[in-house]
């Protein structure tokens, strides 16, 4: 049927039909679009209905937030006993770090945030100086945590809890990326020795479970090192974790390098760019961008693997938690403890994952050919 038509070239922009926009249309399109979809929607609602009230009840409404022991908690409420976490909070956070010196950890953490800001956010004011500070941060943090030069020395045996997780995780992340890049480039090198070394390094560290490496770090190295040398256990763990993650990182980045069209290398070569210049300005920015999901994946894996250090006797949050559970005052509260630790890890890892998505979006430069 012919409606009042517009003359060619005079058609105005009309709004879309009202039943294709708005919340009702959204529900119809996303939740009720097909019989399967309807069934899934109904099931999900039922599932949430079963889970959420019970969880809320346990975690908040019927929970005890104060108390001196498990029994006191139980007398007050039937749900979670957060008093346990409250009492042990400092232990979870600082490990056995001397109470009078804990301000140093707090300060290091604040400085960490200051250092991360310019690294993660490219429009941060004074970014250049921020980056200088970020480079200096590891040394500053090392000094604050270990002491010396005017601060009371603290032994690494006393490190523990979330602070230990952060120390291992951040060291591993910071060093595994550059080492991984070098290894990935080495694996593609024209120089036989460099290539063979990179391949063997990567294959060895990828082929051995991290736990094994940690055992090697804690016991076997003593046989190899000259007797009498002391070589800090935490330092050994840091080295092992870093090398382990570097091997994975190298493979992730190699994937990115190989995904680049050969033309990019050729264009860079044909302009007379030197190897390191073309890697830095042309190849790596693109290869790393492609590899972001894999790189962050490796970071997250490394971060969670830090909990393995419990096996060789370092007290990470899980170690702290388990030793706390051994206290007769608090036995049987493992749900609270594991949930608490899980939330800590989830926040860190989810943060990394969201940041990687943000970065991918930001670095997109139109559809690539």
């Amino acid at each position: 049927m012919e409606q009042a038509a517009y003359k060619p070239g005079e058609h105005p922009d009309l709004p879309p039909p009202s039943d294709t926009v708005g919340p009702i249309a959204w529900v119809r399109a996303n939740l009720l679009s097909s019989p399967t979809n309807i069934v899934l929607t109904v099931l999900s609602i039922w599932f949430l209905y079963e889970i959420i009230p019970a969880t809320l009840d346990w975690a908040f409404l019927d929970a005890a937030f104060t108390g001196e022991s498990r029994d006191e908690c139980r007398a007050k409420a039937g749900g979670a006993c957060w008093a346990f976490i409250g009492e042990r909070f400092n232990l979870f956070t600082y490990g056995f770090y001397p109470a009078d010196e804990r301000w140093r950890i707090d300060l290091a953490f604040v400085l960490l945030c200051v250092a991360l800001l310019p690294v993660l956010w490219d429009r941060c004011p004074l970014r250049k100086y921020g980056l200088y500070f970020a480079c200096a941060f590891p040394f500053v943090a090392g000094w604050l945590l270990l002491g010396g030069f005017g601060l009371t020395p603290v032994d690494t045996d006393e490190f523990g809890g979330f602070m230990l997780t952060l120390v291992i995780g951040i060291t591993g992340i910071t060093f595994s990326l550059p080492i991984g890049i070098i290894l990935a480039l080495g694996r593609q090198s024209d120089m036989l020795i460099v290539r063979v070394f990179s391949i063997w390094f990567i294959e060895f560290f990828r082929g051995v479970p991290l736990i094994t490496l940690l055992f090697v770090a804690s016991t076997m190295l003593n046989y190899f090192l000259p007797t009498g040398t002391t070589f800090d256990l935490l330092l050994r763990v840091l080295i092992m974790v870093t090398l382990f993650a570097s091997a994975y990182m190298a493979e992730v980045i190699r994937g990115g390098l190989q995904a680049l069209p050969r033309g990019q290398y050729e264009a860079a070569d044909s302009m007379g760019l030197k190897y390191w210049t073309s890697m830095r300005l042309i190849i790596l920015p693109q290869a790393l961008k492609i590899s972001i999901p894999g790189i962050v994946n490796t970071f997250i894996g490394l971060y969670k693997d830090t909990t393995l250090v419990i096996i060789i006797g370092l007290l990470d949050p899980l170690g702290v938690g388990r030793s706390s559970l051994a206290d007769t005052k608090w036995t049987g509260l493992s749900n609270e403890m594991y949930l608490f630790v899980a939330i800590f890890f989830f926040i860190s890892c989810f943060g990394m994952s969201r940041y990687s998505l943000y970065l991918e979006k930001k670095l997109a430069t139109g559809h690539e050919r």
């Binding site: 264009a267 070569d269 044909s270 030197k274 139109g366």
Partner: protein
């Protein structure tokens, strides 16, 4: 470009820019280039044609050592290409290359694509490099796209950026490897126009192309290759009207009666 234009083509004492003597190249056991001898004069425009797989790309890629030759010699602007990286870098500064698939750097803007090599290889200050880049982008008629990323441009525009990018290094020789074969027909002309303009200001050009119209109007010499050998070379007029060799005749009949 103007300074090269002054060295007019009518100069009797022609300066030789590229010398290739008894050059051979193998890919493993495969003898891909056989006894190549070629002298290119300053300002000369050479079109290389031949069937697919005849070694045209390999030949021009040897000239800036994207490929290594195993025997004979290649001398570009007085520098012999050897394993000495210094020489290779020297030659690559003077020789620009335009690829079939443009090979722009997708993570950099058009302007940054153009200034990268001048800044990092020729160590020009950024302002100077940007001024030069804008000049060449104007010459290829896309100054308004300078701040876009390559992915946002059409194929023809990308190829013109690629040409501008090479020119920003102020090369003495330009190599083109089928610069128009990845383009839609309506974009071929805009790229050819830029190349013709470049030829008119006296750039030394070696150009692998199937655009026979371009060869007829611009080339000083057409080279026909087959199976790794230079079979025949001649002025375009003679090359197209009276080819000497049977293989040339066959090739021409195939591409012209299309």
């Amino acid at each position: 470009m103007n300074e090269t234009a002054d060295k007019s083509n009518d100069n009797p004492e022609k300066e030789i820019v590229i010398v290739i003597r008894k050059m051979h190249k193998w890919y493993g056991q495969f003898h891909v280039l056989k006894d190549i001898n070629l002298n290119v004069e300053r300002g000369e425009k050479i079109v290389i044609c031949g069937p697919s797989g005849s070694g045209k790309s390999t030949l021009i890629r040897c000239i800036n050592r994207l490929e290594e030759h195993q025997d004979g010699e290649i001398i570009v602007d007085g520098t012999e290409l050897t394993n000495d990286l210094k020489n290779v870098e020297l030659v690559r500064r003077e020789v620009g290359m335009v690829f079939q698939h443009f090979n722009l750097f997708p993570h950099l803007t058009v302007l940054d694509n153009c200034t990268l090599a001048p800044i990092w290889v020729r160590k020009e200050p950024r302002e100077e490099a940007e001024a030069t880049a804008m000049e060449y982008l104007e010459r290829v008629k896309i100054p308004d796209q300078a701040n876009k990323f390559p992915g946002q441009l059409s194929g023809g525009q990308q190829q013109r950026v690629a040409i501008a990018r090479s020119l920003c290094m102020k090369p003495r020789v330009m190599l083109f490897d089928e610069p128009t074969s990845a383009l839609d027909p309506e974009m071929i002309k805009e790229v050819l126009d830029v190349m013709i303009e470049l030829a008119n200001v006296g750039m030394t050009m070696l150009c692998v192309t199937h655009e026979m119209g371009f060869a007829k109007t611009v080339a000083d010499r057409v080279i026909f290759m087959d199976e790794g050998e230079i079979i025949e070379q001649n002025k375009p007029h003679d090359f197209f009207d009276s080819p000497q060799h049977d293989r040339t005749k066959l090739f021409l009949s195939q591409i012209l009666n299309h």
